[in-house]
Subunit: 213 residues, 2 copies
């Protein structure tokens, strides 16, 4: 898998093998139109994969494919979160949140509003039932959350608070992604970043070691 | 339509006429399983409506039905927001947010995690494309937002800030609903209420008239 420059980057399909391409294509189609509207045939076609290969790679059928797609998305999101420490001179919780939101602003500004978050799309269609996709969906969200918690704890935020802030940050982002797509504007993303900045900054300062007078 | 005691209350179907029942049923099925998985036949059956009546009431087909369902949901949410002022002795932005979140806690605790938000479910399946449902979806979200803005402005929050806070509150709620359903726990709802309370309280105090010394 290509090193993620952005969670919404698109490595060329030729770089990946059919199995990886199908997982990637499933994630892209799901986040555009939902799980139910994403057929296995659409995925095989989008991935330019050999028609007969699907059953070979995914004996568990569509549930297996969707589960792997959502876990791929969760891992991708987690890696993007973890990349913050390499880019920030003075890491802070508010800087982390801006970093997490930025690729969504870039995606919408450059590529339009077709595609949202695969985790949200999967949850909207499946979380209410007893789908076999629900355990991978939980793992995907947990990994994304865990990556945010790790960064915050690394900044000195106590673990319990870090968990709460991770839930707040990811929840606000998910809602703002939805809002941006509905209204075809990036303003909701800017708003949640701006509104949460003081709260997040204060949480980071509380983790600072006491300064000598 | 029954006066909403809660946005998730269920007036008995006998209280409403077939057309209203179909709109209500569509909203309930959509928020459980998404738009794509909700067939017109499912709605007619859920609503106990005469089979031939669908075409009569909804000549625009499924798009018309889904559009009306999501607008019904937006109106329902807006009325619930507006009911806050009648229940609060000392209205505050943080109290308003707790009021907006409470029915979701009640729904999940008492009825399980089957059903999420119809606005999010519709956005996840349709907002990426050019569906005829998108204009009603935008109106639904705008009315919900407008109701929150009205309450906040009534508390003295400046209009621009009120709009930002409405986006933040509804976004955080939507993400927390998703998270609660994925993990089958209400903790994310409690977390966003607790984390946003100081920020919202401060925004309300900023709107207070200056006190005489």
């Amino acid at each position: 898998m290509a090193d993620p420059q952005s969670p919404t980057a698109q490595p060329s399909t030729a770089q990946r093998r059919p199995r990886e391409r199908m997982v990637y294509s499933a994630a892209q189609l799901i986040r555009a139109r939902g799980v139910t509207a994403t057929g296995v045939r659409d995925v095989v076609e989008h991935a330019s994969a050999p028609r007969g290969s699907f059953q070979h790679y995914f004996p568990g059928g569509k549930d297996q494919l969707v589960g792997e797609a959502v876990e791929w998305a969760g891992d991708f999101a987690a890696r993007w979160v973890a990349s913050y420490r390499e880019t920030a001179d003075a890491p802070s919780p508010d800087g982390l949140f801006a970093h997490v939101v930025q690729p969504w602003k870039d995606e919408f500004a450059s590529r339009g509003y077709e595609r949202g978050c695969p985790v949200m799309a999967t949850a909207a269609d499946l979380a209410g039932g007893e789908s076999a996709v629900n355990p991978p969906l939980r793992r995907a969200l947990a990994r994304w959350e865990g990556a945010v918690v790790d960064e915050l704890v690394g900044m000195g935020v106590p673990a319990d608070r870090a968990r709460s802030l991770a839930v707040l940050m990811i929840s606000a982002l998910e809602g703002a992604i939805m809002w941006s797509r509905v209204n075809r504007e990036t303003a909701p993303l800017d708003i949640v970043v701006a509104e949460l900045a003081p709260l997040l900054r204060a949480a980071g300062r509380a983790g600072d070691p006491p300064r000598p007078d």
